[in-house]
Amino acid sequence: MNFLQQALQYIFSAENWAGPAGLGARILEHLQYTVVAVAVSALIAIPIGLIIGHTGRGALLVVTGVNALRALPTLGILLLGVLLWGLGLLPPTVALTLLGVPPLLAGTYAGIANVDPNVVDAARSMGMTEARVLTRVEIPTAMPLILGGLRTATLQIVATATVAAYASLGGLGRYLIDGIKVRQFHIALVGALLVTALALLLDAVLAAAVWVSMPGSGRLRRRIPQPLVDDEMRLEIGPPRRTPDYSGRDPAPPGGGASPTVEGW
């Protein structure tokens, strides 16, 4: 636990925060890479997801595209980028965007595609234009999954932005990589702790956003979608079913009803 104590000591010493190579600067650099990459990913992935989800055309493209992008190794792209384009914001942005697009695209598409088709149908018959159907009905309903995709993307980007340090770029990875290189493990631990703290913070904020975006009542009752696997699994699970659901009680009682674990078994 010596390393842990040393690391904590380091973090809580004010002088380590100041200066261009200080903790403060590194955190800001890290945030910068993250925010830029997330923004670009969102700008690319969300419109595509909305269009394909709404029109239903090109669904195969989404599924294969998402899988293919996930298969691309971020580190390789980043380092290749630095060799080709030199140091700067471009290589990490490109590499991290490729990482962030799949969950955002999967989440957006799944969110829109899983809106109850009856509701969309009713909206159209009421006389809503396609654009209105999208903005007034589909997007609000899909918000939890879209924001869930955003959460996943942010999480992965924050975590992977640490590798930018390998290419002599900034960010909290600096501590991780340098610490290991000079065998001062408490420095590496500083990086690890701060990145984790940053990730937890961003995750908490976005989880709250997902929760707030859940439409209708019953927020306290329902679970929020969880990062990473939920987007893909939603595609498989599909839209809410119309067949009667026997969860251990008569379909008639409103609201709650006894929990299935209490009834019968």
Binding site: R70, T74, G76, L176, L200, D203
Partner: protein
């Protein structure tokens, strides 16, 4: 391309290491998460607890976990065991949330009928609910496997082996073709693993393949 062709044997050796490091955690994760997930599935409080813990674990960046784990278990950062334990923790954390979700996707009427027909609790889980949750689980498993492959590659920045070393070496030596070769191999590898999982899923779900006759 040329780089790859002239270094096929190293490519093969590195691939094996890479596969070992990324796939063993997937298998271990499945073995732990499926029973665990099935167990917490119907207990609201337990499920919340496991979901929360899993989310915490998953939020820890992988590099950080590689570095911090030796504080808790008797390994060194670059030990294969360290990487495998870290990635197993990840995989388990992901799957222990995915398993209950996949089980939830089984239609309520089928679960009701199974219970009414006379299946025991365990029998129902093993013979009805788990088989029917496979398609959704496979969707999650694909993501987990491919992500693992990517995380092992990322690990090379702190010295972890596998195909990621072509990235670090190529960068140090300013050889972009080596990096490109690495990207290609990992890409193909990930796609292949993805395909294998999909095929395995299809094999296990013959009922989903058949087109309605009538």
């Amino acid at each position: 391309m040329n780089y790859l062709l002239s270094h096929l044997d190293t490519a093969w050796a590195l691939t094996l290491i890479h596969l070992r490091l990324s796939l063993i955690p997937v298998i271990l994760g499945l073995l732990i998460a499926v029973p665990l997930g099935a167990l917490v599935w119907r207990h609201r409080a337990l499920r919340r607890l496991s979901t929360f813990t899993a989310s915490l674990v998953f939020t820890i960046p992988s590099l950080a976990l590689f570095v911090a784990l030796p504080l808790i278990i008797p390994t060194r950062i670059l030990d294969e065991a360290n990487v495998i334990v870290a990635l197993t923790l990840y995989t388990t954390a992901l799957l222990v949330r995915a398993v209950p979700e996949a089980l939830d996707a089984v239609p309520g009427s089928v679960r009701d009928a199974a219970r009414a027909v006379g299946y025991t609790r365990v029998g129902q889980l093993l013979k009805v609910e788990l088989p029917l949750s496979i398609p959704v689980l496979v969707a999650g498993l694909r993501v987990v496997a491919v992500t693992n492959i990517s995380m092992v590659a990322v690990g090379s920045v702190i010295g972890i082996g596998g195909l990621g070393t072509w990235f670090t070496e190529g960068y140090q030596a300013d050889k972009s073709d080596q990096i490109v070769a690495g990207i290609m191999v990992i890409f193909v590898l990930a796609i292949l693993i993805d395909l294998i999982i999909v095929l395995a899923g299809r094999l296990l779900t013959p009922w989903a393949r058949r087109v309605p006759a009538t």
